[in-house]
Amino acid sequence: MCFFKIILKSNSVIRALLCSCIILLAGCGQQQNPQEKPSGVSRTPTTAKKIVVWHWMTDREDTFQELARQYEELTGVKVIFELYAPSDTYSQKVRAAAQAQTLPDIYGLLADKRDFASFIKAGHVANLTSKMSENNGEWQASFFERALMVNEFSQGNEYGVEPGIYGVPLDVMNIQMLYNKKLLAKAGIDPTKPPSTWEEFIEAGKKLKEVGVQGLASGWGEIWMIDCFASNYAFNIMGEEKVLATIRGEVPYTDLDWVAVFSVFKQLAQEGLLADGIVTMINKTAEQNFANERAAFAFNGSWCVNVYEGMNPDLEYGAMLPPRISRNFPMMIWGGAGTSFMVNDRSVYRDDAVAFLKWLTQPAQQAYLAKQTNNLPANKNSLSQIPPILSDFAKRMDQTTHPNTWPVQEFPIVNERMNKGIQLIIIGEKTPEELSREIQELKERELAKQKQ
């Protein structure tokens, strides 16, 4: 007691403590300037509604700002788009904000289904099923089915998430092969009939080599693109059921079909069909190579239309499915929702956020977005106004699949080892058989850990 009395009696001590507290409060407090962009949802509702949206899409920033302006004019609700790029930095920011519970009202999520489920279970994502079902499911029906699948969790899903729709697709995409018409013609290949089988593709590669043109350029330094290419051929060689059975642990990676999938890369490398340095090539460099007519083929997503338009408006190219190896199963390509926005379940403006997303995905706004950014709209009712090359991509939407729509997910560490291993196959350091064994060992270890 005496100790406290001393403190209380001492004016200078109290003054000093007060000063300390004020400095601390000032330092730790958030600057509240109404003119500045607010972040996160730790705000109290004010008279002027402000919805904050986080995204990473530099190419769409101006269009988003314009749409936000239109929405404010229409409804009086201010929408603030905050851009954080590049995508991996954005992804880290979203994860950090989730941990600190400072996510904005609306945000895009760059994560696999497992992490998406974790976000939902942690209360960071609102279930939009009831909103989608209003008016006989009018909003839900306006989207491509594949676009919604990425954001959907079905009954009895392996993640233990309550069934429902948890995201609003903004656009759709798919990843295909592109071919340069002029370069194919130069090599004596009919540009109206690009190779559709593996044999034709290998033959085309030889002809291109003879005229000094590189074959396939793709950003395989970014391992997810290798994953995508490998997955296409896995579906074509063994079919969806067997791929999923492998992920469930029922079929080993040492199965001959998987060895055949890895051998695709070995053959591509041996036949000289791959652009030099493809294993460390980032997608931007690959896009430059194709746009500047240094490579005859590219493996890229539908977003490339916008990129190539900016790099070389005179580029004459078309889109095609990766040449099939097997006739037993269809060639499935990655696709579905390109970008989706999630509504923060803790947002004080949750309903307003949903209303904004509903407006953003109406045909007029979707057509405007597609026109400005050359992306495929998620709303199928706005397809009539898109350019022909985008139509080529849109035609294949029925043949799309995506890991996030599969009922099971591979362990990320297994995926990483597989894709890095494929890089090693391309540079001739590993054989397909060695990689198969290595992945299987890792898979068994992870399965054992999961059982524990």
């Binding site: 100790f3 001393i6 403190i7 001492s10 200078s12 001590v13 000093a16 403590l17 000063c19 300390s20 400095i23 601390l24 330092g27 991996d88 992804s91 880290q92 994860r95 989730a98 941990q99 497992r114 992490d115 974790s118 976000f119 279970k121 942690a122 590189q214 330094g221 970014e222 652009a275 030099d276 340095g277 493809i278 294993v279 460390t280 090539m281 980032i282 460099t285 190579n289 240094r294 990320p412 560490i413 990483e416 890095k420 291993g421 890089q423 090693l424 391309i426 540079i427 350091e429 590993k430």
Partner: protein, 299 residues
């Protein structure tokens, strides 16, 4: 012993002024530091609500690191780059510092020029050098072709035999400026009379360097080598922009592995354990260097 209340008052007053700094230090330094230790014994994905009792796994993460071949391979890569930096980079820095320490024309300009690489953005440097090394249209291959050395042309960053060395060279180019500035500053503190006395005694330039410069510069050499080791072992941005750790795992370094565990595999606990082990290695290296330098000084 009776404690005077005026002493307590004075101490409290002093403490209260330091309190904001202490609290800030505790929140932003001590708490995260301890949190890393806590997470390292958990199997947490970084997204779910954290509960220690639910995710506690003991020393499993540490045991796994010990047998993680890719982790140790990445350690070796960092050590390799460090070795190159300690030798070539620092020798170059020393030679340039010695040159600029002399009375010569435009030496201030040289100082500025040599210090430009360290102040450039590492991302920009990485991307520019990636273009220089590019296998198809890179400047290096173009130069080799111009000089008629076609047999040397290849994809420098995609070839596992050259990728790591190429990155190490860029790291040295980017980093020698720091060593240069520190060594130059050290040399300028050596009294000129020592050199004059050595000259009067008939000492050659080499003899003066070996018996005057080197002994006087030992603390500076130690500082530069510690900074080089700490900086190089943690190399990340250059790797990230130039190769992304590829081809395969050939240019992976500990920091890229930690990031991969944290973001690509969502294994926060494992990443924290990797961070702790890596920090420990750096601590041991710095401590050893310091002890060696003390022994060297005594000799």
């Amino acid at each position: 012993m009776k404690i005077k209340w005026t002493t307590i008052k004075a101490n409290l007053e002093n403490l209260s002024f330091a309190l904001p700094a202490i609290i800030i230090f505790a929140i932003f330094y001590i708490y995260p530091f301890l949190k890393v230790f806590q997470l390292s014994v958990c199997n947490w994905n970084g997204i779910d609500a954290f509960s220690f009792s639910q995710y506690y796994t003991g020393l499993v993460n540490f045991k796994e690191i010990l047998v993680d071949k890719i982790w140790w391979q990445s350690m070796w890569h960092a050590a390799y780059i460090t070795l190159i930096a300690l030798t070539f980079q620092n020798v170059l820095a020393l030679l340039l510092a010695m040159a600029c320490d002399r009375e010569m024309k435009a030496r201030n300009y040289y100082r500025v020029i040599f210090f430009i690489p360290p102040i450039l953005s590492e991302v920009v440097v990485g991307l520019i050098w990636q273009w220089i090394y590019d296998g198809n249209y890179g400047l290096l291959n173009h130069l080799l072709q111009t000089m008629g050395w076609d047999q040397l042309i290849h994809s420098w960053l995609s070839d596992p035999k050259t990728a790591l060395t190429c990155v190490a060279i860029v790291h040295c180019w980017k980093g020698f400026g720091w060593g240069f500035i520190i060594l130059l500053a050290g040399m300028q503190t050596i009294p000129r009379q020592l050199y004059e006395a050595a000259k009067v005694d008939g000492a050659s330039s080499w003899y003066a360097f070996w018996h005057v410069t080197v002994p006087m510069m030992i603390p500076v050499f130690v500082l530069v080598s510690i900074l080089t080791v700490l900086g190089t072992m943690q190399v990340f941005i250059l790797i990230y922009t130039m190769t992304g750790g590829g081809p395969g795992y050939h240019t992976e370094v500990p920091v890229t592995r930690i990031l991969a565990s944290m973001t690509a595999s969502s294994r926060f606990g494992y990443a924290c354990a990797q961070g702790i082990l890596f920090g420990l290695v750096l601590l041991i290296l710095s401590f050893t260097q310091k002890k060696l330098s003390e022994r060297l000084k005594q000799e």
